[in-house]
């Protein structure tokens, strides 16, 4: 049985009242397996940060539940137990407005049992973080590195990173991804990171969740998703009009294009059995899957509206 680091059930979070009410998270059900690198993808205002804030006990759900290691992070004393096991990099990277050295020293004092000075030095060196620059003089990238160093060296069971690549140059980004894979997951830790930088997530994540308008559009192991999503370009007289496997259909004068979200082999088999000609069949990149899911969700929303 899979154990989950984070699990949500029909989670809802609204802000404001009456007409001005915004549903930032709208019936979200997430399952983040322990030991995974889970990438939560979504456009701006998809509800990623609000979900993370609820996981950190910084926001209370309007309805539904959220569990971190089976504990409720919104209520003390369970919240304290959750925070003991979580390293966190917030979206704004504003951690305590201290120089990196002071931030590391302060953070170490809260986690003396798990903190690793060696790991902190390693992160500082590999990310080329200036330790003694005052917070006011730090660039956005350096603030990100500082927050990352503090969270990684904490060696918590779960690392929650909200847009951890903000302001990082390509070299620092590459170093960070390697650090996360080599040092964090090697010890069986769970990494839950949100981003809209799909290329980076695709490099390291083994599970992904795609969010839009507060809802989860897709969730699962990345390899399964890649294997399931296929683009078919076909011609023929009796083509299928719809089905649960078909995410979207585009017709032009010469051919029909299908985006398939499960069982591409079965779909291909059925097409050929019905006399269709498959002109092209290609697996899809994460970027393409993401775009297709978001566009389909948007068009469905417009139709229902």
């Amino acid at each position: 049985m899979t154990a989950f680091a984070i699990q949500t059930r029909t989670l809802v979070k609204t802000f404001g009242l009456g007409r001005k009410q915004i549903r930032a998270v709208d019936g979200l059900s997430l399952n983040v397996p322990e030991g995974s690198i889970y990438g939560l993808l979504g456009r701006n205002s998809a509800g990623k940060t609000t979900t993370i804030r609820m996981a950190m006990g910084l926001a209370r759900p309007t309805s539904g539940t959220i569990d971190v290691f089976g504990l409720n992070p919104t209520r003390d004393p369970e919240r304290v137990s959750v925070l003991r096991q979580v390293g966190y990099v917030p979206e704004d990277k504003m951690l305590a407005s201290l120089s990196p050295r002071k931030l590391l020293e302060l953070n170490r004092s809260f986690y003396p049992g798990t903190w690793s000075d060696d790991l902190a030095r390693k992160v500082v060196k590999r990310l080329e973080l200036p330790l003694d620059t005052s917070y006011m003089k730090l660039s956005l990238g350096d603030k990100t590195k500082s927050a990352l160093a503090a969270a990684i060296a904490q060696r918590s069971k779960l690392l929650i990173l909200d847009e951890p690549t903000t302001g990082l140059d390509p070299i620092a980004l590459d170093e960070l991804l390697r650090l996360l894979v080599e040092d964090c997951t090697a010890e069986g830790r769970t990494i839950f990171l949100s981003s809209h930088q799909l290329a980076e997530i695709e490099q390291i994540a083994d599970h992904i969740g795609i969010m839009d308008r507060g809802r989860i559009l897709l969730e699962g192991p990345l390899d399964d998703i890649r294997a399931n999503f296929h683009r078919f370009t076909v011609t023929g007289a009796s083509l299928p009009a719809g089905g649960t496997a078909i995410l979207s259909t585009t017709r032009d004068a010469h051919a029909t294009q299908y985006i398939i979200q499960r069982d591409p082999e079965l779909f291909s088999h059925e097409l050929t059995r019905n006399g269709a000609t498959i002109l092209d069949s290609t697996p899809m990149s994460l970027n393409e899957i993401f775009l297709e899911l978001c566009r389909t969700a948007e068009s469905r929303e417009e139709v229902s509206a």
Binding site: F15, R53, M56, G57, L58, A59, R60, T74, D76, P77, R79, V80, S81, L83, R84, V86, Y88, P90, M94, L95, A96, S97, L98, R101, L104, E105, L106, R108, S109, F110, Y111, P112, G113, W115, D117, A120, R121, V124, K125, L131, D132
Partner: protein, 354 residues
């Protein structure tokens, strides 16, 4: 005694006023230079202090810290910044409390009266009249406490994501700042009183030179119908009013009133800051309104305490000028009020996370 005592008073009070910031400045410059040199010499590393196993200098300290887990200890250790601020506050209060001992103030009251009476009255008058000054520092101290509590500040957000319960964060922060303010007031009061003894001796024992009305006379006059004895005494050109007030003033209750009143206003600021206002624009308006409310209430306190409503001042244990003190029992009013305000603020603080 007069001339040399005055000279001594000027010298000692001036030295105590000016020397501490100079010494602090020298210490700070040396500390920063040492720190910079240490940083230049060292490779990227963290301080050698082993935070996993903190050592305690005293058994009492060890016993106290054993009650808390490591994260709580880390947060408690962080409160030493508050203690550093408390030293500064003590010095400021001390300067204020002792200012009445300066010879120019002492000689400003009824020159016909003996020196002990003038010294004692000047001392009491300056302490009791400092309500506005104490209020500003109380407001600042409350702001300092709030700065680490709410999600508005970076350090506040950092601490809210460490393994500390919300109520622990609230009570330790508010408790440490409030107790530092109270401790600073007590320490400054004690130090100023010692300075008074050093400079002029026990002046309160030598108030009556035989030409003054006795306390019994004043008390008796108050109970008789006719013109108010306070008015008669106050209008006296010979400082009889000064004598009467000086004689009637209770210095423990004066200091207790300063402590209870400042605690009440401190708690009021904490409550205003903890009210759950989430919208950014509303928050700015709310902060402005809160500051306005605080200072309006503070002005009302000073006006009421100054004699506009003596009964209300007594009940609220306001004591902002020399004269007959309110009974001790009324000190419970601001104390209970503070506790209620802080209880409410704690409740709001626990619910402040969106």
């Amino acid at each position: 005694m007069n001339r040399s005592a005055s000279l001594h008073a000027i010298l000692i009070v001036s030295a105590l006023t000016i020397l501490p910031p100079i010494l602090f400045g020298i210490w700070f410059v040396i500390r920063e230079k040492r720190k910079a040199a240490a940083l230049e010499a060292s490779a990227p590393s963290f301080s050698a202090q082993d935070t996993a196993a903190p050592s305690f200098r005293s058994k009492a300290g060890a016993f106290f810290f054993r009650c808390f887990d490591v994260s709580q200890r880390a947060y408690l250790r962080r409160q030493h910044f508050v203690l550093a601020g408390g030293l500064l506050l003590t010095w400021i209060f001390f300067v204020y409390f002792s200012s009445g001992l300066m010879s120019q103030y002492v000689s400003a009251y009824a020159a016909q009266q003996p020196l002990p009476l003038r010294v004692w009255y000047s001392y009491l008058f300056h302490i009791s009249n400092g309500a506005a000054t104490y209020g500003i520092f109380t407001f600042g101290a409350a702001g300092l406490a709030v700065g680490e509590l709410g999600p508005a500040s970076a350090i506040g957000r950092f601490l809210r994501t460490r393994p500390l319960s919300r109520s622990f964060l609230f009570w330790i922060r508010v408790g440490s700042v409030l107790s530092t303010v109270i401790f600073s007031l007590v320490l400054a009061a004690g130090a100023s009183f010692i300075l008074l003894l050093m400079l002029y001796g026990p002046v309160w024992k030598h108030l009556n030179n035989g030409t003054q009305p006795t306390a019994a006379f004043i008390a008796n006059a108050r109970s008789q119908p006719g013109p108010s004895v306070d008015d008669i005494l106050e209008s006296s050109r010979f400082g009889a009013g000064h004598f009467a007030w000086a004689l009637q003033t209770s210095i423990p209750r004066l200091f207790l009133s300063i402590i209870t009143t400042q605690s009440f206003f401190f708690s009021l600021v904490i409550l205003l800051a903890m009210l759950p206002i989430r919208s950014g624009r509303k928050k700015v308006t709310f902060v402005a309104v809160s500051v306005y409310v605080f200072f309006m209430l503070y002005i009302i306190y000073i006006v009421v305490g100054s004699g506009v409503s003596p009964d209300l001042a007594r009940i609220c244990f306001f004591y902002v000028r020399p004269g007959p003190p309110p009974p001790y029992i009324f000190a419970l009013v601001p104390i209970v009020g503070s506790a209620a305000l802080l209880g409410l603020a704690s409740n709001f603080s626990n619910r402040n996370d969106g």
